[in-house]
């Protein structure tokens, strides 16, 4: 089997597995699956930048929130129908990614992390500052009309799952192709050795800007999808923990692998779900996981599998 076929086959297998899980699991867990898939889109977007291009951002929550508010605010205040508002959400994520990227890419390493953190913090504070419209931390519920796509109300459990599955499958398959494409391979080259990539004649800065924009667009898509499917928009999705989560998911699942993000979200979701049943301080689990992962398994779960199965995309 060629590499591309094998990759597609693996991804189709993952998608089939999700469908089987949905059909066999009890309703509560099936409902969680939709949430996991939407968050996995966010993680895939983050992984494109962190895992494949080697840029560690600490401010991706601003892109997630850009998508969420881009969709939510136009639906709430301007009364836009679902699809155009959703498209605007993705666009908002991409546009913010382009602007922030153009500025932040003038720095590298530690400065890049701090700059993205600062931009995300000011984005979060801006949402709070315009509390009259955004309702700040309290957030708002997306009007029911804006959650109907092509006559289908996405607030039902099955409809929601199907919508999340379609979006996730698209993103997974496209990202699988993307990382095997010329662009994807050049991004990996930048991650491995930027100097050499430049010397080979690639415009590394332009390529990194493309990577940030695509990553931000995917994060925006995830944010808009979250608001569309779960009907809630709030400032907590723009706060620091939502910038840390994708890093955690990708590290846990395996940076630089296509299925890693999903695995990471899945494990972390149930870990935190279990922990929050026991204690208020469920973020303790996230902290412990971060420290243990950086110490003992910097390649994550899929990275460990890749040691055996070398072709893992």
């Amino acid at each position: 089997m060629s590499e591309r076929l094998r990759t597609d086959a693996l991804h189709l297998g993952v998608i089939a597995l999700l469908v089987v899980l949905f059909l066999t699991l009890p309703t509560y867990y099936a409902g969680n699956l939709s949430r996991i898939m939407v968050l996995a889109i966010y993680a895939i977007g983050y992984n494109l930048l962190f895992g494949y291009t080697g840029l560690l951002s600490l401010g991706h929550a601003m892109f997630f929130a850009a998508g969420m508010y881009g969709y939510g605010l136009t639906a709430q205040l301007a009364g836009w129908p679902a699809l155009p508002a959703f498209a605007l959400g993705i666009l908002a994520g991409a546009a913010l990614g382009l602007v922030v990227g153009a500025l932040a890419l003038r720095t590298a390493g530690v400065a890049f992390m701090i700059v993205t953190l600062m931009f995300a913090q000011s984005a979060y504070l801006t949402i709070l500052y315009f509390g009259t419209w955004t309702r700040g931390d309290e957030g708002f519920v997306v009007p029911g009309v804006a959650r109907v796509v092509l006559g289908i109300d996405l607030s039902g459990e099955t409809e929601r799952f199907v919508a999340a599955l379609i979006l996730f499958s698209l993103v997974l398959l496209v990202s699988g192709r993307l990382v095997r494409s010329r662009l994807g391979r050049t991004l990996v080259a930048i991650r491995e050795n930027e100097e050499r990539t430049r010397m080979l004649g690639y415009d590394a800065t332009r390529l990194k800007l493309i990577a940030i924009t695509v990553s931000a667009a995917l994060s925006g898509l995830a944010g808009a999808a979250y608001a569309l499917l779960f009907g809630y928009v709030g400032a907590s999705f723009a706060a620091v923990p939502y910038s840390i989560f994708p890093l955690l998911w990708v590290l846990l699942g395996g940076a630089g692998t296509t299925v890693g993000p999903l695995i990471g979200v899945f494990f972390m979701f149930y870990l935190i779900d279990t922990a929050s049943g026991i204690t208020l301080a469920y973020m303790l689990i996230a902290g412990l996981a971060l420290v243990l992962l950086t110490l003992f398994a910097p390649q994550g779960i899929a990275g460990l599998v890749r040691r055996r199965v070398r072709w893992l995309p």
């Binding site: 560690l56 600490l58 500025l103 932040a104 003038r106 720095t107 390493g109 530690v110 400065a111 992390m113 701090i114 700059v115 600062m118 931009f119 913090q121 000011s122 504070l125 801006t126 709070l128 500052y129 620091v240 840390i244 890093l247 590290l251 204690t279 208020l280 301080a281 469920y282 973020m283 303790l284 996230a286 902290g287 412990l288 996981a289 971060l290 420290v291 243990l292 992962l293 950086t294 110490l295 910097p298």
Partner: protein
Amino acid sequence: MQFGPHLLLAILEGLVTASILSLTAMGLSLVFGVMRVVNVAHGEAYMLGAVLAWWVTGLIAGHPAAGFVIAAIAAPLIMGALAVASDRLVLKRLNYDPDRTIVATIGLLYIAQQTTLMSFGPDARPVEPPFNQRIALPWLERTEEGWAWFYPWGLSITSYKLFVIAAAALILVAIWLIITRTRAGLLMRATQQDSETAQAFGIPVGTVYSVVFGIGAALAALGAVLVVPIQQAHYLMGGEPLLLSFIVVIIGGLGSLPGTVIAALLIGLSDGIISVFFSPTLAKIIATLLVAMVLVFRPRGLLGKAPA
């Protein structure tokens, strides 16, 4: 109150903020300067310092001053020991790799914060100041009979706040003396300039790193002990000093100690003045954006030197 006395009050409050901030930021700057480690958990050292101060003062009966003095010694020591332990257990094993240490310190941040939430609880708890006389401040104003002193209503400061400013200034001078005049300071400066050469000259670089990480956390804790009689101890209180310390260290030039103090004064004063006259949220948005821009366009900080 008129504009003049109002401004004086804002400046005094700003000076208190600046004093605490210069201690916290000095810890962050020292760690970054010597170890090249960005310690995201630094704010939690501050928070733990405040919580430890609350705990120690609660243990000691009698006059609040006795508890406060013991807390001011014990909290930084305990915090320093915790930091040395986390350096040994975590950072050292990562070989101080910049990316991985950031991720690990984010993890340490949540561990510290959430452990506090589980043990100390979600409530804010006060610590009684050792002394707290209100001192009314005079204001000179031109009246019909010429210049006259009078005491505007509301223009006052407590003796404790004046003590905070003085204590912070003393501690900063002490740090400066240690770094420039003692053997320990010489070892730190040697490690900062070139850790490999320092190692080759027999300087125990690993020990220097641990000690510096401990001192950095202890400084944050000391700042917190000073602030906790003014501001209550709470498990989420570490976020703001972390952000402000970052801002100070970046504006002052990463790793430059005099730059850090000047920037802390600048940020503390302007934070005090801006939040008296404008919306604090707007002030913070502008400050964070400005700092991001400084990093983007002047990565060495406003006062930092160009590389040799």
